[in-house]
């Protein structure tokens, strides 16, 4: 990437894009892909589709294989469910938000304006204080019904500005930690869009025989709506999805997590085993550490809908390890973004006219 990875993460963390409302972040990603690709469009669902035409012709003159790469740009969020008499706001969820992370968190309320714009209001999540709770109640976590957003405004001003359904996003600026690690909101999954940008930049000099569609998808957190329509539009010959996966924590079961310091590839029925092996061979050839993990059924990523788009798409799923998923301190190793980008670039560089000759037998 032209930018330092940290600068990229810092900027992406300030862009708001809850599922179904990715317009702001989509425009930003469009501007990032434009210098690296032949054309970039934002479709009706706010998918950003960046097309990079093959730079090396196939030997036999056959059409260039079409590869779709998907990483989602949407984020989990909240929405205004009710405006209370005193002007504080009750919240509903957009995607899987853990209420445990909310007390004393800062959030941004996106108040819809009549002329179509949005006013961003800072809020703090409050809760019933412990001294007003019974001993037993203070031993359990707060429920959504006990939490509220405080905008620091008089009730009448809140009622004039805010409407039910307005979106609320978490605040979580990128924080640089030791050992090239970084914590931020929305690493899931914009860090993987960063991997796509890293790969696109490397391919500028490496060249490729395939036509590449880099897609920053929408609505993954609520069921991969964006990947479904983008895969229909592109009709790819093969696909690679990139998403985050749980990194090892002291309390986690070892078989459900991957180490923080390297990307992984998923093995299971929803991905194509020979393409997975191809990815692993590419990694080995170029000295890139690549771990493996398994998914016995759904992968809970864009892979699941892409695999059965149109007449079917053989898939590979790359996993970027992440600690504290779905919080405002999602933590990863920035070197994994670089290495995943390098892996993806080599994988695309090596897709040629014979890529599918022994795919199914």
């Amino acid at each position: 990437m032209n930018m330092e990875i940290f600068d990229f993460l810092k900027e992406m963390a300030c862009k708001h894009g809850p599922s179904g409302h990715e317009y702001e972040v989509a425009e930003w990603f469009k501007s990032k892909f434009e210098p690296l690709c032949d054309s970039v469009t934002v479709d009706r669902l706010f998918n950003v589709i960046a097309y990079k035409k093959a730079t090396i012709p196939t030997r036999d003159g056959s059409p260039a294989p079409k590869v779709m790469l998907a990483a989602h740009q949407d984020e989990i969020a909240l929405m205004v469910a009710d405006i209370l008499e005193d002007g504080t706001l009750r919240m509903g969820t957009v995607g899987g938000v853990d209420p445990r992370i909310l007390p004393a968190s800062t959030v941004t309320v996106h108040a819809r304006e009549a002329e179509g714009g949005y006013q961003k209001l800072l809020g703090v999540v409050g809760a019933l204080p412990p001294h007003l709770q019974s001993e037993a109640d203070s031993q359990r976590n707060y429920q959504f019904t006990e939490l509220y957003v405080d905008l620091g405004l008089p009730a009448e001003k809140v009622k004039a500005l805010v409407q039910i359904g307005d979106l609320i996003t978490l605040n979580g600026p990128a924080t640089r930690l030791l050992n090239d690690r970084c914590a931020s909101k929305t690493m899931d999954d914009r860090a993987c869009v960063g991997v796509l940008l890293e790969a696109a930049e490397r391919l500028q000099t490496m060249g490729h025989k395939c036509d590449i569609y880099f897609v920053a998808t929408s609505q993954e957190e609520v069921g991969s709506g964006g990947a479904t329509t983008a895969a229909y539009a592109i009709d790819p010959d093969l696909g690679v999805a990139l998403d985050v996966s749980h990194a090892t924590l002291p309390s986690s079961r070892p078989d459900t997590t991957i180490p923080l310091d390297a990307p992984a590839v998923t093995i299971g029925p929803y991905v194509q085993y020979k393409l997975v092996n191809r990815m692993r061979e590419t990694a080995k050839k170029h000295g890139i550490k690549l771990n493996t993990e398994t998914a016995s059924r759904r992968t809970y990523t864009d892979t699941d809908s892409m695999q059965i788009a149109r007449c079917g798409v053989p898939m590979v799923l790359i996993d970027v390890p992440l600690k504290y998923m779905h919080t405002s301190v999602e933590l990863l190793d920035m070197n994994v973004i670089r290495e995943s980008g390098r892996l993806l670039a080599h994988f695309l560089n090596e897709i040629d006219e014979g890529w599918d000759s022994e795919l199914w037998i």
């Binding site: 209001l121 412990p130 359990r140 924080t175 930690l177 919080t327």
Partner: protein, 338 residues
């Protein structure tokens, strides 16, 4: 010193040195070195002599320390185990940013917990106690974590000063830096009484500093300046609110430390009314503070507590209303100048 600077300084109980240094420096500039001391309990005591020889000795106290965390040990994987310094509800810690250590060696950290996807239904109910939470500084292993943040390293919340809403300020540590800020402003007032300004240490772990300061000063009158809990949000019935923001300085009739001396209590209300200073009576008997040690030092003192209502106290995100901050300053100023 402005409110932003004083709130953003780190200083958990027992480790108030960054705050102490800044306050001591400003006191010396304003009152001269001969009138300022740091005592053996870590308090900064600034003295402004009364205009008459028989003027009463008034002690005003605001505490420098804030609640936070402290490193207990490092785990094999480089995560830091911590304990709470002062009263911290573990429910406000998950998914927050912190600053580990002070000064040049300060590093960033985050408090994470297992992702929602991996929690069992049982996990979701139970509060993670501080003993099961940890601070992640990105260290690769135990040795690196111990080198960067050895046992005992202080940790504070990382919430920068932000003005928002209507007249509101969001920042860490308003309890009790908001009162330290006002007390520094009061150093300039034209006091009639013999005034002793005590910037105390270790209030959050049992009002330790003010014990020593009150013993030294031996006041006739003691006034504790606090940032106290305002439970005025979330549609709570009025009877459950402690005090409300935007209604002025909160005057306590009683809390867990003292019963306000009735004359003092009446006098403060009368003075606020006379001067047109916005004020309210703190409605709950909750919280203890430096008024306790002041009331019971030597042969005793008349005390009262004047507070700025703060929302979400003892959490990373405390909020005050600048209108109330000014009211606290004006009322104490009016009292001292009377």
């Amino acid at each position: 010193m402005d409110l932003k600077t004083i709130c953003e300084l780190p200083g958990i109980s027992g480790r108030e040195e960054p705050v102490r240094k800044a306050i001591y420096t400003e006191c010396v500039v304003k009152l001269g070195e001969e009138n300022v001391m740091i005592d053996r309990a870590g308090n900064v005591i600034a003295h402004k002599a009364g205009k008459k020889a028989d003027a009463p000795r008034v002690m005003i106290a605001a505490h420098m320390d804030e609640v936070g965390l402290m490193v207990v040990s490092a785990a094999e994987d480089g995560l830091l185990r911590v304990c709470a310094i002062g009263g911290v509800d573990p429910r406000v810690l998950v998914s927050k940013r912190v600053k580990v250590g002070y000064g040049e060696n300060q590093i960033d950290g985050v408090i994470g917990a297992m992702a929602i996807h991996q929690q069992t239904a049982e996990d979701r109910k139970h509060v993670l106690p501080i003993s099961q939470l940890y601070v992640d500084i990105g260290a690769k292993d135990k040795a690196e974590a111990e080198a960067k943040a050895p046992m005992g390293t202080p940790i504070v919340f990382d919430t920068p000063y932000t003005e928002f809403g209507e007249n509101k300020v969001l920042v860490k540590a308003l309890d009790d830096r908001v009162a330290c800020y006002n007390m520094l402003r009061l150093l300039d007032c034209d006091a009639n009484c013999d005034t002793w300004f005590a910037f105390t240490s270790q209030e959050e772990v049992g009002c330790r500093g003010s014990e020593a300061a009150a013993f030294r000063i031996n006041p006739d009158i003691g006034i504790a300046l606090e940032g106290t809990s305002a439970n005025d949000t979330g549609n709570l019935p009025e009877c459950q609110q402690v005090c409300a923001q935007g209604k002025g300085v909160a005057i306590s009739f009683m809390d867990k430390a003292t019963i306000a001396q009735p004359e003092m209590f009446r006098e403060m209300i009368a003075l606020a009314q006379e001067k047109g200073i916005p004020h309210q009576v703190k409605m709950a008997v909750a919280g203890g503070n430096d008024s306790g040690p002041m009331q019971r030092a030597h042969t005793g003192a008349k005390t009262c507590v004047l507070s700025v209502p703060c929302r979400y106290i003892h959490s990373p995100s405390t909020i005050c209303d600048l209108y109330d901050v000014e009211a606290q300053y004006q009322l104490v100023k009016a009292f001292l100048e009377k």
